[in-house]
C-alpha cells in the first residue's frame, strides 16, 4: 500500500527505461566509429534507415497502439513529407515558385517543419473524414485515401510522375557538412532522440492518457465526459506529422522521392514494423523497424525471393502472438554483430 504503482499498464514506469534509452543513445552515437572500426561501414547507413523508419513506425503506433486505430494508409503521410522536401528542392534549384506562390528551399530548418505541417494538414483532412467510420471501414478508407494520393503523385509529371524526383543534394543545415553521410546520420539520430523524448512525454500527458483510455474502453471515457472524435482526430494529425517528418528525413537521406514511398505495401511495411516490435510500446516500433530492415538485408543477400522469408516470419509472429517477437529479435540480434538495441 505504501508505494502504489500508479503507472501500471501500457506505459512502463520508473527510471530504468530512461537509463536504458540513454545507454542506447550512447552506443548509437558511437556507431559510425564502431562500424568503420569493425569493417562494416554500411552499418551506418542501415541504422540511419532504421532510425527514420523507427520514427514513422512509432508515429503509426501512436494511433494504433495507444489509440486503437488501424490506419492502413500511413505511407501517404510518409510520402507527403518526402515530396515536400523534393518539391521545395526542385523549386529551389529551378528558382521557380511552387504553385506560383511559394519559393523553394534547400534549408532543412525550413523544409522539415514544412514537411511536418503539410503532412499534418493532409492528416487533418483524411482523419476528419476517416474517423467518421470505424473498424473494417476505417482500415479500408485510410487505405483508399493513401491510394488516391499515390495515384495523384504518379500522374504529376511536373514532379517526376512514376519516376519520382531526384534531390541532387541533401538539404543544408547551418554549420554542418551535409554531404557527409556520417553527419546526416547524426542529424537523424538527434532528431530521432528528440522525437522519442517528445513522444514519451506525449504518451504520459493528459491527452495521451485519454487516448489510451479511449482504446481500452470508449464508453467509460464518454461517461467521464470525453468526446472521442476530437481526441482521435488530434492524435491522427500528430501521427501524420510524425510520419511526415520521417518521410522528409528519408527524402534527404536517399536524395530521392517517388510515389513508391506512399504505395500501400509501404503502409503494410510500417504496420509490420509496429507488430514486430510490439504494439503499444514506446520503443517497440524502433526495434521493429530494426528487425524488419535487418531481416530484409539478411534475406535479400541470400535470395531474391526474400519476401517469402519475410512472409513466413510475419505469419509466425502474428500467429504465435507477441511473446514470439522478443524471442525472435533476441535470436536475430545474436546473428548480427554490432546491431543495436
Amino acid at each position: 500500500m505504501a508505494d502504489i504503482d500508479l503507472t501500471h499498464g501500457a506505459q512502463a514506469p520508473g527510471r530504468a527505461p530512461l537509463l536504458r534509452a540513454l545507454a542506447a543513445l550512447v552506443v548509437l552515437a558511437a556507431l559510425p566509429t564502431l562500424a568503420s572500426a569493425l569493417g562494416y561501414p554500411a552499418l551506418t547507413s542501415l541504422v540511419t534507415r532504421i532510425l527514420i523508419y523507427g520514427i514513422a513506425a512509432a508515429s503509426l503506433n501512436f494511433i494504433l497502439g495507444y489509440g486503437g486505430l488501424v490506419s492502413f494508409g500511413h505511407a501517404a503521410f510518409f510520402g507527403i513529407g518526402g515530396y515536400v522536401v523534393g518539391i521545395l528542392y526542385q523549386n529551389y534549384s529551378d528558382e521557380t515558385l511552387f504553385l506560383g506562390l511559394v519559393p523553394g528551399s534547400n534549408q532543412m530548418l525550413i523544409t522539415l517543419p514544412a514537411a511536418v505541417l503539410v503532412a499534418g494538414a493532409f492528416a487533418a483532412v483524411i482523419g476528419a473524414l476517416s474517423l467518421r467510420t470505424g473498424g473494417v471501414q476505417f482500415i479500408m478508407i485510410t487505405l483508399a485515401f493513401a491510394q488516391m494520393l499515390f495515384f495523384l503523385f504518379v500522374s504529376l509529371k511536373a514532379y517526376g510522375g512514376d519516376d519520382g524526383l531526384i534531390i541532387r543534394r541533401t538539404n543544408e543545415l547551418p554549420g554542418l557538412n551535409m554531404r557527409d553521410k556520417e553527419v546526416v546520420y547524426y542529424v537523424c539520430l538527434g532528431i530521432a532522440a528528440l522525437f522519442f523524448a517528445g513522444l514519451a512525454r506525449l504518451i504520459r500527458s493528459p491527452f495521451g492518457n485519454v487516448l489510451n483510455g479511449l482504446r481500452q474502453n470508449e464508453r467509460r471515457m464518454v461517461a467521464l465526459g470525453v468526446a472521442p472524435y476530437r481526441y482521435r482526430l488530434v492524435a491522427f494529425v500528430l501521427s501524420g506529422m510524425g510520419a511526415g517528418l520521417a518521410g522528409a528525413l528519408m527524402a534527404n537521406f536517399l536524395r530521392f522521392v517517388s510515389p513508391d514511398m506512399m504505395h500501400w505495401t509501404k503502409s503494410g511495411e510500417l504496420l509490420i514494423m509496429v507488430i514486430l516490435g510490439g504494439v503499444g510500446t514506446l520503443f517497440g516500433p524502433l526495434i521493429g523497424a530494426a528487425a524488419y530492415l535487418v531481416l530484409e538485408t539478411l534475406l535479400a543477400s541470400w535470395t531474391e525471393y526474400w519476401q517469402l522469408g519475410l512472409g513466413l516470419v510475419l505469419l509466425f509472429v502474428v500467429m504465435r502472438a507477441r511473446g514470439g517477437v522478443r524471442a525472435l529479435i533476441v535470436a536475430l540480434g545474436a546473428l548480427l554483430p554490432g546491431r543495436q538495441k
Binding site: T133, M140, M148, V154, L310
Partner: protein
C-alpha cells in the same frame, strides 16, 4: 454513340469481374469478420493454374476446372491453416497475417512461373467480334464474361435465398451464436464459404486472362478495387457488392476512356494524359470517400 455503348459494355465486363471477387470477400467479411488481403492471391492462383493447364492441353475449357480447383484448394488450405485461427483476433492481426500470405503467394508464383507475364489464348468459338448493333462490333468473349458474371450473381442469389446453406449463411452473418446453437458445424460452414469465395476469385482470375495479362501483382490491383466495392456496397451485403461492382466498373471505365480527352482540351497532350489517368485511378477511391461520408456503413449495410 457506339463508342459510348462499347465503353459501357467494357465497364459492365469490368464490373462483373469485380463482383466475382467482391462476392466472396464480402461474405468472408460479413460472416466471419475477417479482412482477407490474400483474396487477390486466389485470383492470381486461379489465373496461373488455369492458364498453365490451358497452355499444356491446348484447351481453354480444361483451364476452367483447373483454375477453380486450384483456387478453391488454396483457399481451403489458407482457411484451415491460418484464417481459422484469426476469427477471434482483432483486425490488425488479420490484416498482417493475410498480408504475409499475399507476400508469400507472390514469391511462390514467381518461383514457379517466372517474372514474364503469361497470356491466355482465347477459345476459338469466342474470338473475333460480333456486330451487336449496326456499327457496334464487340468481342463475344467479353460478352461471355458478362454473361458468366450475371449467371454467378443469379446463382448466388438463389443459393443464399433458396437453400439451407444460404439460410445458415444469412443467419451466420447476423447471429453467430444462434447458428452454433442450431447444432451446425460452424467451422465447416466457414470453410465452405471461404472455399466458395476462393473458387469465384479463381474463376475471375482465369477468365480475365485473355483480356489482361496474367502476372504477379495482378491480384493486388484488383483487390484494392474490390475492397472499394465491398465498402461502398456495405460489408456483408451481396446485393450491395453487386450494385457497387457494376457501378464502379462502369464509372472507372468511362473515366479512363473520356477524362484524358476532356483534359486535353485545357492542357498539353502528354500532361493531360498523365493527369487524366491519375485522376481516373483516383476516381473510385474518391467515390468511396463520398459514399462513406454520407453512409459510413456503406449503401446496403445490414441487409442480404
Amino acid at each position: 454513340m457506339t463508342l459510348l455503348l462499347e465503353q459501357l459494355l467494357n465497364g459492365l465486363q469490368f464490373g462483373v469481374m469485380l463482383f466475382l471477387l467482391a462476392a466472396g470477400l464480402t461474405l468472408i467479411f460479413g460472416i466471419m469478420g475477417v479482412i482477407n488481403l490474400a483474396h487477390g492471391s486466389l485470383y492470381m492462383v486461379g489465373a496461373y493454374a488455369g492458364t498453365w493447364v490451358a497452355a499444356q492441353t491446348g484447351s481453354f475449357w480444361l483451364g476452367i476446372p483447373a483454375a477453380l480447383g486450384a483456387a478453391a484448394l488454396t483457399g481451403v488450405a489458407i482457411e484451415a491453416l491460418v484464417v481459422r485461427r484469426l476469427y477471434a483476433r482483432d483486425h490488425l492481426d488479420q490484416v498482417l497475417a493475410t498480408f504475409a500470405i499475399l507476400l508469400m503467394a507472390n514469391q511462390l508464383v514467381t518461383l514457379i512461373f517466372g517474372r514474364q507475364p503469361l497470356y491466355t489464348a482465347m477459345p476459338e468459338a469466342l474470338s473475333g467480334s460480333v456486330e451487336l448493333l449496326p456499327g457496334l462490333f464487340y468481342p463475344p468473349y467479353r460478352l461471355a464474361i458478362i454473361a458468366v458474371g450475371l449467371l454467378v450473381a443469379l446463382g448466388l442469389w438463389a443459393l443464399i435465398n433458396r437453400t439451407r446453406i444460404g439460410m445458415l449463411v444469412r443467419a451466420g452473418s447476423t447471429n453467430r451464436e444462434m447458428v452454433r446453437a442450431l447444432g451446425v458445424d460452424i467451422r465447416l460452414l466457414y470453410t465452405v464459404v471461404f472455399g466458395l469465395g476462393a473458387l469465384l476469385a479463381g474463376l475471375a482470375g482465369f477468365i480475365s486472362g485473355p483480356v489482361m495479362a496474367v502476372q504477379v501483382g495482378m491480384g493486388e490491383q484488383i483487390l484494392l478495387s474490390t475492397f472499394v466495392v465491398v465498402v461502398i456496397g456495405g460489408v456483408g451485403s451481396i446485393r450491395g457488392a453487386f450494385v457497387a461492382s457494376l457501378a464502379l466498373g462502369v464509372i472507372d471505365t468511362c473515366l479512363r476512356a473520356y477524362l484524358p480527352g476532356l483534359l486535353r482540351q485545357v492542357m498539353a497532350g502528354p500532361e493531360a494524359d498523365a493527369l487524366g489517368i491519375g485522376i481516373s485511378s483516383m476516381g473510385i477511391y474518391l467515390l468511396m470517400a463520398i459514399v462513406l461520408l454520407v453512409k459510413p456503413k456503406g449503401l446496403f449495410a445490414g441487409n442480404g
